[in-house]
Amino acid sequence: MFSFVARRLAVAIPTLLILVVLSFILMYAAPGGPFNSERPLPPEVLANIEAKYGLDQPFWKRIYDYIVGVVLHFDFGPSFKFKDRSVNDIIAQGFPVTLTYGSIAFLVAIVVGVSLGVAAAVKQNSWLDYLAVGISIGAQVLPNFVMAPILLLTFTLWLGWLPGGGWNGGQWEHLVMPVIALSTSYMASIARITRSSMLEVLNTNFIRTAQAKGLSMRRVIWKHAMKPAMLPVLSYLGPAFVGMITGSVVIDSFFSTGGIGTFFVNSAFTRDYSVMMGITILVGSLTILFNLLVDVLYAWIDPKIRY
């Protein structure tokens, strides 16, 4: 087990480095510096500022400093547009918000998706099955940026039940729509995967044996069928997690929740490269960490995997 984790880490760390180098090269290749503006600064002043931020250094020195700063001090450097805030401040402000509604949406997608899928598989070809399949097919064509306006239209404009946006310290009224919009399409995929893998497991011999022993259906499902049926779902969680984080960009710009996505999009429009890089690297490391976690969990649950 230990060597398995070590081997996965041996892949994960270079991946992260590649991501850092890639985004740094992209920023380096960008035309114009961060201090080129409509009204050009006097060249001497510009040179002073660039010296302060180390922009006059050669490429290798700069990338070395950046990587050292990120890896050793978790310091993504100063923002190029906000005078009084570093990239770290911006992440510290936005990330908790994203994490809050993101993890709730993630849990909702898993719990609802798995229960829907299991219910559909156990009662195959009943109205429940058709309903679950119908919902999961319908929800597949409703990615977050389609779901968000539909929800807003229904609950805010027509029914007037929920506020149209804002965060307000994470009150539940402000959480409902972001969570639904973010989780719907993943819930649908999880339901589909659960249903088909559960059906497959229910047709195997060991389940028939368990039923023949006279175990109750509930016990068969929970005790015997659940674990093998969850393996395909587990391997889908990695992509789903990435999708959720990416989706936060839409959620933030639609519901003005003030998460990390707001800052990413804003910095994309104002060309605040250091903020963009910082967020990209943060998301990348989270992704890699999460995939590692899923792999380890998978190896732990599935005895067929040799490590």
């Binding site: 892949v11 994960a12 270079p14 991946t15 590649i18 991501l19 890639l22 985004s23 992209l26 920023m27 290749a29 960008a30 035309p31 097919i137 597949q140 064509v141 409703l142 990615p143 940026f145 389609v146 968000a148 306006p149 807003l152 239209l153 404009l157 990435v242 984080i245 990416t246 960009v249 839409v250 710009s253 639609f254 990413f264 999009v265 994309a268 429009f269 060309r271 490269y273 963009m276 890089m277 967020i279 990209t280 998301v283 990348g284 992704t287 890699i288 995939n291």
Partner: protein, 308 residues
């Protein structure tokens, strides 16, 4: 001695019987696909959407970038969809004909999806087939590269690229081409591993056929079924991907548009009661995605029988 006529007839029958045309894999697949009603209906719908994107522009009575200033501020009353004004789908918030814009948006979205799928088919298949066929260390390295690329949050990197190098359709295609082939490479490799031990490949190796030729002549044609299925399922994902970027206002640039950008615009103005501005693009988006998913599912059932 001559055989009697009855015997002769039965011999002829036997010869005719042996000449009965065998059904090919593809003919089999076609019958299976045709039996799937949802898939056939979706295919017809897709044909209509494609016709709409290709030729719908000829029916438009307004240019897609013509701004009708007389409608400014009175969109909710005067810009409604009607045949009399020639704005079949109404006008957008700036007084432009929504019909012409939806035609163009559908076209660009379809193009993005198809280009992404084509890159996946060409690059992904060849990459996966090469890795799978040669195996060993080369396979290890090539697949590690895919693993590494897969765990990069590409949406963020692509947005970074679009911001740094400027927004253009070319850049969008490049970005979509960069990620679309990864899954396909894995699928093609897995399939190649099972094919390369078949007898016909061994024969080709034994007769000294060049490895590249073996891959192109013997491996790739046998991958085709599974590749087609996944390419079809990839198209809607690429359309969603592009729409996502355009929704943020970072994709296709004005006066060009895509379904994602139109949905975004419509969503921004729906509180003024101009619901058609979101309804029409949303309708085409949902129909296209739905139809592609159903056709893909139908193809999978038809071409990949073990996966049922």
């Amino acid at each position: 001695m001559l055989p009697n006529p009855v015997e002769m007839d039965s011999v002829v029958d036997a010869i005719e019987l042996s000449q009965v045309k065998g059904r090919s894999l593809w003919a089999d697949a076609r019958t299976r696909f045709m039996r799937n009603k949802a898939a056939v209906v979706s295919l017809i719908l897709l044909a209509f959407v494609a016709l709409f994107a290709l030729f719908g522009g000829y029916l438009a009575e307004w240019e897609r970038d013509f701004v009708d200033f007389s409608l400014t501020g009175r969109n909710a009353h005067l810009g409604v969809p009607s045949f009399e004004t020639g704005h079949f789908f109404g006008t957008d918030n700036n007084g432009r004909d929504l019909y012409a814009r939806v035609v163009q948006g559908t076209g660009i979205s379809l193009m993005v999806g198809i280009v992404g799928a084509m890159v996946a088919v060409v690059v992904g298949t060849l990459y996966g087939a090469t890795a799978g066929y040669f195996g060993g260390r080369l396979d290890g390295i090539m697949m590690r590269i895919v693993d590494v690329l897969m765990s990069i949050p590409f949406m963020f990197v692509l947005i970074l690229m679009l911001v740094i190098f400027g927004r253009s359709i070319l850049m969008l295609f490049l970005g979509i081409g960069l990620i679309s082939w990864l899954d396909m490479a894995r699928i093609a490799r897995g399939q190649t591993l099972t094919i390369k031990n078949k007898e016909f490949v061994e024969v080709a190796v034994a007769t000294g056929v060049h490895p590249i030729k073996i891959i192109l002549r013997h491996i790739v044609p046998n991958l085709l079924g599974i590749v087609i299925v996944y390419a079809t399922l990839l198209v809607p994902n690429m359309i969603i991907f592009e729409s996502f970027i355009s929704f943020l206002g970072l994709g296709v640039q004005e006066p060009n548009t895509s379904l994602g950008a139109l949905i975004n615009e419509g969503a921004g103005t729906m509180q003024y009661g101009t619901l058609w501005q979101i309804a029409f693009p949303l309708f085409f988006f949902v129909v296209t995605i739905f139809a592609f998913f159903f056709v893909g599912d139908g193809l999978r059932d038809a071409l990949d029988p073990k996966d049922r």
